[in-house]
Amino acid sequence: MNKKSFGSRLVAAPYLVWAAIFVIVPLLMMAYFAFTNESGAFTLANISEIGRYKKAFGVSILYAIIATAITLVISYPMAYFMTKMKVSSQRMIMIIVMLPMWMNFLIRTYSWISILANTGLINTFLQSVGLPKLKLINTPGAVILGMVYDFIPYMILPIYSVMSKIDNSLLEAAQDLGSNGPSRLRRVIIPLSMPGVISGITMVFVPSVSTFYISQKLGGNKNWLIGDAIEYLFGMGPDYYNVASALSLVLMVMILLCLAVMSRFTDDDEGGVIV
């Protein structure tokens, strides 16, 4: 027995070696670059440089929070309505929601330019009915719209999958005990769907706060996010790797702190935050 389970544990060895080299070491490497200068000597200069990117950090967090909140408000009723449908339609709607996820997000983002541009579809329409043009592209609103659009399936799907597993007899029991619509929603459905909400929030917030493409395409040069700063610095070449590493390190710590706070709201220990 012992021998057998030792053997089956051993098959995980290649993966563990892989994870050590390509998951843990790279993060240590990032920390090493963040705390050294170009010649490899210890320094705190990179970390203190971060002060110059305060605004980018602030804007990133603000936009990501707004986008996550909007996504949640739109997705929750959607997931709820989906669970009320026939099983066959539920399946179909799920495919419909998932499908855009597999379309490259660069293109999904870019298509919005066709819609929002100064001579784009919305403004062409407004002009044809005699209304004044609107400034839509290169605004904070466009960046947030891009985030909501790109990441909304990641909010709908986890909420839906948790909600669809809620035992119907619980809802009936609530009704028998005198809970009407709104209070049943507040006291039974919302608490039971919390794990889905939490993973949805995580899966929208993390890519939103760290994005750089959406802000470049829909935000022009004015909505500079932390992802843009990191991408820009890495693009400048090896001399800037140290500062860029420091920024990435801070971004990672910030995200992990957010996730740690979020995971306190769920008591699902083995599946981790994502499942």
Binding site: K4, S5, G7, S8, L10, V11, A12, A13, Y15, L16, W18, A19, F22, V23, P26, L27, M29, P77, M78, K84, R91, I95, V97, L99, P100, W102, M103, N104, L106, I107, R108, S111, W112, I113, S114, I115, A117, T119, L121, T124, Y149, I152, T202, V206, V209, S210, Y213, K217, G227, I230, E231, Y241, S245, S248, L251, I255, L256, E270, G272, I274
Partner: protein, 267 residues
């Protein structure tokens, strides 16, 4: 209430598909604008066949997706078997945490940390070019592994341990028992893991962007094209990719429904 919920769902679907419709529509534009429609034409579709950058990108993307999904499926399935066999809870939760890291980290952090590793070793080995096919492949395997592991582990938990022991009692060697008993009972998990890895790999931009060097995958090619003004050729290419994935997804769904029906009829 019923009508309201229908309208709501329809509006969300409209929101999800409006940009897709715009993309498909303008891919047939004869002019080179992506917001002023001129005449219907399929010229952009013909054009991309002769666009070497795009075709190379497509080739690179498919190569990396097939290889990384296959390698991650093998490594990840083995890892899942090993992780479920771990008896100490502390070790198991440590390994699970490490597995979750690439999923929790922002893509940009994963991409940059891997790039630093590759550049560091490249310098140590004195290579002139430290990024390329091998590095982007390693990066893709790394971010695919957690998805394979997390889709296989639940299936392993559901399988009856006695089956494996019965196979051993009936004279199977442990290896035979593994391939004849364990693998068939977790194959749906393995298949899901493979499909997820493949699609994630096809779609990845951020991690590839930092690790691919000159071996540009299609999303990186698209990124570089959209830095300049975009012509409908990118839309034409995306329409093709979109339709391919649509067909794959439908096929996957048919396979899944069939296997569920089989399970139901057996039970």
């Amino acid at each position: 209430m019923k009508t309201f919920s229908r309208i709501y769902v329809a509006l969300i679907i409209l929101f999800l598909y409006a940009p897709v419709a715009v993309m498909v529509f303008f891919s047939f534009n004869s002019g080179s604008s992506v917001w002023i429609f001129d005449k219907f034409s399929v010229d952009w579709y013909k054009n991309i066949l002769f666009d070497t950058a795009m075709m190379d990108g497509l080739k690179h993307t498919l190569t990396v997706a097939i290889l990384s999904a296959s390698i991650a499926t093998v490594l990840g399935t083995a890892a899942a078997v090993g992780i479920t066999a771990l008896r100490k809870k502390v070790t198991r939760s440590f390994v699970t945490t490490v597995t979750n890291v690439p999923m929790m980290n922002a893509d940009i952090v994963t991409g940059i940390s891997l790039m630093l590793l590759f550049v560091f070793f490249g310098r140590m080995l004195g290579l002139s070019e430290s990024l390329g096919f091998i590095t982007v492949l390693i990066a893709h395997i790394t971010f695919n592994l957690p998805y394979v592991i997390l889709s296989v582990i639940p299936k392993l938990r559901q399988t009856d341990k006695n089956l494996h022991e019965a196979a051993l009692d009936l004279g199977c060697t442990p290896v035979q028992a593994f391939f004849k008993v364990v693998i068939p009972s977790i194959q749906t998990g393995i298949f899901t893991g493979f499909i997820m890895s493949f699609t994630l790999s096809l779609d990845d931009f951020v991690i590839s962007y930092f690790t691919c060097g000159h071996y540009q995958t299609l999303p990186v090619v698209i990124y570089n094209m959209t830095k300049k003004t975009v012509k409908p050729d990118v839309y034409a290419l995306s329409t093709i990719v979109f339709l391919t994935i649509f067909v794959l997804l439908i096929l996957y769904n048919i396979v899944q429904t069939k296997s569920e029906q089989r399970r139901n009829s057996r039970g």
